[in-house]
Symmetry: C2
Subunit: 268 residues, 2 copies
């Protein structure tokens, strides 16, 4: 018989953005107000996102335009983590990223494939052409000990029109399969990414909750790092997530509003 | 200590085409004459190919134009195997294939994604766009028990200009990763494909040799089915193939000419 989950005091909250607070730039009903209730309760918050189709700065603007009280320093974004990882190691990456992300990497990106010693890959959307993937493949095959830095390995996300679309993860696996290399993931579900966000709010994993719509990379990833994992039934959520054999969320809530209530109830 | 390979009588030969007999439509030096020597020795032959950028009929024409004595019924091609697999099961597949292959599937291909119950994938080349992969992903996610039929899972091939390019395999893995499904491979290295070719020349696997340039899918695949696996140092061959931890060819030859000599020497 499974043990009942031990009650935990939640002292800090990590929140996924896309599919949880907003979908395709539109705020989910009641989400801005629910966020405010978390703030009013004095809980430190961070936003942890693997969204890689737009730069983090644009993401913050969209949140603010959508009625969310968010400051740029509260957002931990996978593109920033990828940039820092490449910079720290002095790499000159070849980019397989959305056009909107290229300027972030201007200072370090390789000007030509022959000069690259790494590949940085995010959700390039329509930029995932055969030619672009082939270029990245050749960089990895022609370089000695190349780095394959993945912003995330999320498999799919839900579009504003309700349809699922391919995210970066399957394309990362494509390059791994073709080259025999193992990618280094810098966004969720990497421990370093969760740790950095938790460190900035001086909260231990044990006393933190992650709210997300991605069963494997938000909920499972956070749980593997010791956090409380809360799955919301919005965004890319699918009913089969509730009977998954590999990840069992600590809590499942209809949406972000209900997730906030669940956290605040525990504190009451 | 590894056992020395037991000597075997070779009574039939399976031959890969691209990278072994031709590269990008150009015959390799001496290859047509070497093929003739195999025929003169009375060895039954079959050509087993995972080439999916052109229909099998075109492939036969190119071989004949290149000076090879080949008839259409001697060629076992992955696209034909995919077509037969889909037909036998009454499937209406969504196609992720090269434009040149579409007409082969005219009778059974789904006219709209909503009507598809399977995906058939080959090396679509520039047809591997984000939109095309996303369409296939959605067919697989929105269909109950869909079939994912892969013509091959080869990782890469060598272009006429010497550069390596992505083959179908990594794209098959992409769809597997995104959907959680397992593909069914109908070309090399599937046992059914080798078996069909061997059956047509009434030769048992034990007395047959496979000559190929793909370490994993030609040589390893054939060995797993009981054939003698001969690797040639042309096409996609890379020096590291000779120290691979998973596949050790029975024989490694500089090219098809040398491979034929090695087989005929054993019979002398």
């Amino acid at each position: 018989m499974p043990r009942p989950p031990r009650p935990r005091a939640i002292h800090g909250v990590l929140i996924d953005i896309s599919g949880v607070l907003m979908i395709d730039g539109v705020s989910l009903p009641g989400a801005p107000e629910a966020l405010q209730r978390l703030r009013d309760a004095g809980l430190p918050l961070r936003f942890v996102t693997n969204t890689t189709r737009r730069p983090p700065a644009t993401l913050v603007e969209r949140l603010q335009d959508g009625g969310f009280d968010v400051t740029p320093d509260e957002v931990f974004a996978a593109p920033t983590a990828a940039l820092e990882a490449a910079k720290t190691r002095g790499l000159h990456p070849w980019l397989v990223v959305h056009e909107g992300l290229r300027p972030m990497f201007n200072d370090i990106a390789a000007d030509r494939a022959e000069n690259a010693d790494a590949v940085v890959i995010g959700d390039a959307g329509d930029g995932f052409s055969y030619a672009a993937l082939n270029d990245a493949f050749r960089v990895l095959m022609n370089t000695e000990s190349p780095a394959l830095i993945a912003m995330g390995v999320n498999r799919f996300f839900r579009e504003g029109d309700g349809r699922l679309s391919l995210d970066a993860g399957p394309f990362v696996r494509l390059l791994e399969e073709a080259t025999g290399l193992q990618s280094e993931v810098v966004g969720k579900p990497s421990q370093g990414f969760f740790d950095a966000a938790l460190h900035s709010i001086a909260t231990s994993a044990e006393h933190a909750a992650m709210i997300g719509d991605d069963l494997r990379d938000d909920v499972g990833g956070a749980q593997a790092c010791g956090l409380h994992g809360i799955l919301v039934r919005t965004g890319k959520y699918r009913p089969e997530d509730e009977s998954d054999r590999t990840v069992t969320p600590d809590v499942i809530c209809d949406d972000f509003v209900a997730a906030v209530e669940s956290i605040l109830d525990k504190r009451a």
